[in-house]
């Protein structure tokens, strides 16, 4: 006769330095139920639109997250542009796509490192992050920042990158690719890694859709849904298709992200090969009036931005649904029935970014 025990997980946990708390109800070594709680650091950034002009708010929007910061800033700008119907120059769109994909590479490398750390493979963690530094350097050289970039503004971008430089960066990534492949080989083929990730936290495609999963968690179950298909920015001009796996377990999620790294490198290569010439920003006349939902694909999955404006300098409402927020229910369901020792690995495979969830 087994007894139920409640084990608290987080908000400070060695593998997950992010403020999410899970009450794990365990029976022997099995988790029977998990109750999530977030909200430890809720910042109320959505309400800040009351204090900021809509043009200045982009600086706040970008600071929602320190990893997908570029996509946050870009998506806010897209939302304003769609409401105001601005003709954003093509060069700006191409560069936005470039930065967004660089962000995907750096985010996935960061995640792979954390994953290695979670199952105790320290040297793999260090090597993954060594490669990530080169990607951050590209960011610093083009935007001036390594974490927060401040290059998007409604109507376009604030800094240009020359065509030669773009080709240089494509080359840097080309040179980086074999090194990334070497590291990823370990994730794909190493027995110790498989031991921790194969068959852990399996989600079926039907469940994933019902639970509202997004991003790599959804694609790992075989659903090829990627919001880049909505052709925001310049995604209509490059060739790519969503990376998918069918197993739905931790290993599948890991492999989807690995595939996306190569794909992002390829997209950067394509952009560098055909940079459109022209302006990088257009004028923003007047104020927005209307509403729009923007959906963009962040490294962690679909993020939804809702803007409602009535012609004043401040927006009426700005709302973000971050990908982690959508993936928490799936995490809770996947935790039911797993081993207590697998909880950290499983929690990490949804790539939780609680800080952006607590916008």
């Amino acid at each position: 006769m087994s007894k139920r025990t409640i084990i608290p997980f987080g908000p400070q946990h060695p593998v997950l330095p992010e403020p999410i708390h899970l009450d794990l109800i365990v029976e022997d070594e099995k988790v029977v139920e998990a109750v999530p709680s977030i909200g430890f650091i809720h910042r109320g950034l959505e309400k800040l639109v009351d204090k900021r002009d809509f043009l200045d708010y982009v600086f706040v929007a970008e600071r929602i997250c320190g990893i997908c910061s570029f996509t946050h800033g870009m998506s806010y700008c897209i939302a304003v542009e769609e409401v105001m119907n601005l003709p954003v120059p093509e060069r700006a769109l191409a560069l936005r796509t470039f930065w967004a994909e660089i962000g995907r590479i750096h985010s996935h490398l960061l995640w792979l490192g954390l994953m290695a750390d979670a199952f105790g493979f320290e040297s793999l963690f260090m090597h993954t992050w060594r490669l990530r530094e080169k990607v951050l350097d590209i960011y610093e050289e083009t935007t001036g920042g390594r974490v927060i970039f401040n290059v998007c503004k409604p109507g376009g971008i604030r800094r240009d990158v020359t065509d030669e430089k773009m080709r240089d960066y494509a080359k840097v990534l080309n040179d980086l690719e074999p090194e990334i492949r070497e590291i990823n080989n370990v994730f794909m083929n190493d027995k110790t890694v498989h031991h921790r990730m194969c068959g852990v936290g399996v989600l079926s495609a039907a469940d994933a859709l019902k639970l509202g999963c997004v991003g790599p968690v959804l694609r790992a179950t075989g659903v090829a849904q990627d919001m880049r298909h909505l052709n925001y920015a310049w995604y209509s001009q490059v060739n790519w298709k969503p990376a998918t796996r069918t197993a739905g377990d931790c290993q599948a999620r890991c492999e989807v992200r690995i595939d996306e790294i190569y794909q992002a490198i390829d997209i950067v290569r394509q952009i560098a090969g055909k940079m459109p010439a022209g302006e990088i920003a257009c004028k923003v006349p007047g104020t927005p009036n209307g509403e729009y939902f923007v959906r963009t694909e962040q490294p962690r999955g679909e993020a939804v931005y809702y803007i409602k404006a009535n012609g004043a300098r401040n927006l009426v409402r700005f709302r973000i649904r971050t990908p982690t927020f959508a993936n928490i229910p799936a995490l809770v369901k996947a935790l039911q029935g797993c081993d207590l020792a697998d909880v950290p690995v499983l929690a990490l495979t949804i790539d939780p970014c609680i800080s952006c969830t607590e916008r």
């Binding site: 200045d56 600086f59 040297s123 610093e140 935007t143 604030r158 080989n185 027995k191």
Partner: protein, 121 residues
């Protein structure tokens, strides 16, 4: 299934130069585009206060009567917005970061009065 992929990486890194720098002794030169800290050319400032109004971090204080322009370096998020909006282009973004500090205070600059117009009538 392989155990040796990682072994190869580890062995090569044993004989490679370290991937990191010995920081205080070896400092990487900043990229020209790096957003480090804000500098001001005091002669050109007209104390219009636009930078103060636009700064998203409220890091700048402009006081016209005392001809004082001050910046709180710990508040500044190096977003470059003040540089973009300044009408006389007297602000610059320097690639060097501000020096570390243990006290939280603003760095004041005194704006010299405008040079009297030659041939004033």
């Amino acid at each position: 299934m392989s155990f040796f992929g990682m072994t190869k990486i580890l062995l090569t890194s044993l004989f490679r130069r370290p991937a990191t720098r010995l920081y205080p002794f070896e400092v990487r030169a900043p990229y020209p585009a790096t957003r480090g800290s804000i500098g001001i050319t005091v002669e050109k400032c007209i104390l219009c206060g636009i930078c103060m109004k636009k700064c998203p971090a409220m890091a700048i204080q402009v006081d016209k009567p005392s001809r004082r322009w001050a910046i709180d370096r710990l508040r500044c998020v190096a977003c470059n917005y003040c540089v973009d909006v300044c009408p006389t282009k007297c602000l610059t973004m320097k690639p060097e970061y501000a020096a570390p500090t243990v006290t939280r205070d603003t760095e004041p600059f005194t704006i010299p009065p405008p040079a009297p117009k030659p041939a004033a009538g």
